[in-house]
Amino acid sequence: MKTILAVAGVVIKELYRRKDFYVLFIVTMLICLIMASVRIFNDDKIVRYLKEMCLLLVWISSLVIAITTTARQIPAERENRTLLPLLAKPVTRTQLLLGKFLGCWLACGIALVCFYLFFGALAASREHHWPLLNYFQAASLHWFMLGIVIAMALLGSLVFAAPSSNSTICFVVVGGILLLGRHLDSVALTLPEPVRSAFLIVYYSIPHLEFFDVRDLIIHDWPLIHWGYYGLALIYGIGYMVVFLTGASLVFRRQSVN
C-alpha cells in the first residue's frame, strides 16, 4: 500500500504543479462568477438556469482534467524513460497502475472539492441557503463517475500509444455514454434482429455514467436520493473501476517495457 500511495503522491504533485490545471480552474471560476453576477430580465428563477450552466461547466472541466491527466500518465513515463528506474525497484506493474489510478482519482477529488465549494458559495450568495447533503450526494457520485472514466482512460493509455488519440477516444466514449447511453435500450426495441441483440449487449455492458449525474439535486433542490440507492450506485461504480483496472493490469503485464 505504501508503494501505491507513493506513486499516487507523485501524480498529485504533478497535477498541482502544472499550470494548465490552474488555467482551467480559473477560466471555469471566472465564467461561473460572471454568470452568477448578471441579472437577466430581473427574474429570480433565472438562477436555476445559471446553476445548470455553471454545473455543466464544472462537469466538463472535471472530465477534461480527469481524461487528459490520466491519458498522459503511462505514455509520459515511457517517453521520459522514468518507467525503467521505477520498475527496476521492487514494484509490480499492478502496484504502479493502482498508484497512477489512485493519484489521478484523488487529484480529481481535490479539484472537485474546490469546484463545488466555489459553486456552492456562489449559489448560496444568490439563494441564501446551502443544502449540504444534496451537495454531498451530487459531488460524491460525480467523483465516482470520474473514477470509472479514469480507470477507462488508464486502460486506453496502455492500448493506444499516443495520449492524444486515447484522450479523443475517451472523450467520444464518455460523451456518447452520457448523452446516448440511456436511450440505447429503447432504440434497440425498434430494430430488427440481430442488430437489436447487439444494441442490447452494448446497453448492458457499458458503464452507465448517467446514473451518477444527479445535478438536479442541486439545481432544483430535489429531495435526497435514498441512501440505499446511493450505496448501490457507488458499488456499481467500484465494479466498473475494478473491471477496467483488471483489464489494464492484464494488458500491462504482457507488454515489454523498453
Binding site: 507513493a6 504533485k13 504543479r17 524513460r81 522514468t82 525503467l84 528506474p85 517495457v257
Partner: protein, 251 residues
Amino acid sequence: MAAILKAENLRVEFRSREAAQGTKVALRGLNLEVNAGEVFGYLGPNGAGKTTTMNVLLGFVQPTSGAASLFGIDVRQPIARQRIGYLPELTYYYKFLSAEELLRFYSTLFDLSRLEADRRIDELLKLVELEHARKRPIRTYSKGMQQRAGLAQALINNPDLLVLDEPTSGLDPLGRMKVRQIIQRLKGEGKTVFFSSHELGEVETVCDRVGIIHQGELKVVGPISEIRQPRHANLEQAFLEIIGFETQSAS
C-alpha cells in the same frame, strides 16, 4: 566468488511490426555470470544487445527462452530487485520534483524509514555533488546534474549490485570523470557494478572483467589483461578485432 547475476542460454526474439521483416533476434543463447564485488564492463557496438540483456535482467522484457536470476532469484520476481540499483540511459526524471523529492519518492518504494531515508538522501546528494541544488526542480538541472541525480536514485537502497546502462553517455569530460570516480568509490566499498559503455578508456580504467557482445552473441568474457593481447595497442583495437571490424571492412 559467487555469481550474483546469472543469465543462462538467454534468447530474445522481437516480432517486427512489418511482416516482411519477420523476427529479429536480439540475443542468441547468452550465458553470462557476474561475481560479487567485481566491476564488469559490458561492451558492444550499437544494437549488439547490451540494453536488451539489461532489460531481461531487470524483468522489463520476457526472454523467448532461457533464464536469468539476480542473487539466485528469478528476475521475474519483484523481490529480485530489492538489492539492485539501476541507472538507465538518457532518462528525464520527473521535472516537477526536486532531487530531494525524487530520492524521497524512490526511498519509499524500498520501504526505508523516514530517518534512514533522510540520512541516505543527505549522503547521496553529497556524493553526487547536488547538495546545493537539492530543493531546485529537476527541470532547471543541466544534463550532467540530471545524470548525477539518476545515479543517486540508483544508490538510494544502498544496493549490492549496480546496473548502469551507458552512465556517461552524453556527458562532458568533467561529468564523465565524476561518474567514473563514483564507480571507483563503489568498487572500493565492495559493491558489484555491471555497466555498459562505449567509452573503452573508461572501461579499461575501472573494470575487473569485460564481456563483448556482437549481434546478440557474447563473443568473449574475461579480464582486460586476457582480452587485450600484446599485439593490440589498446582495448579499442582488441574490441574491433573481436567484433570482426577488420574482416568486414576488408571484405
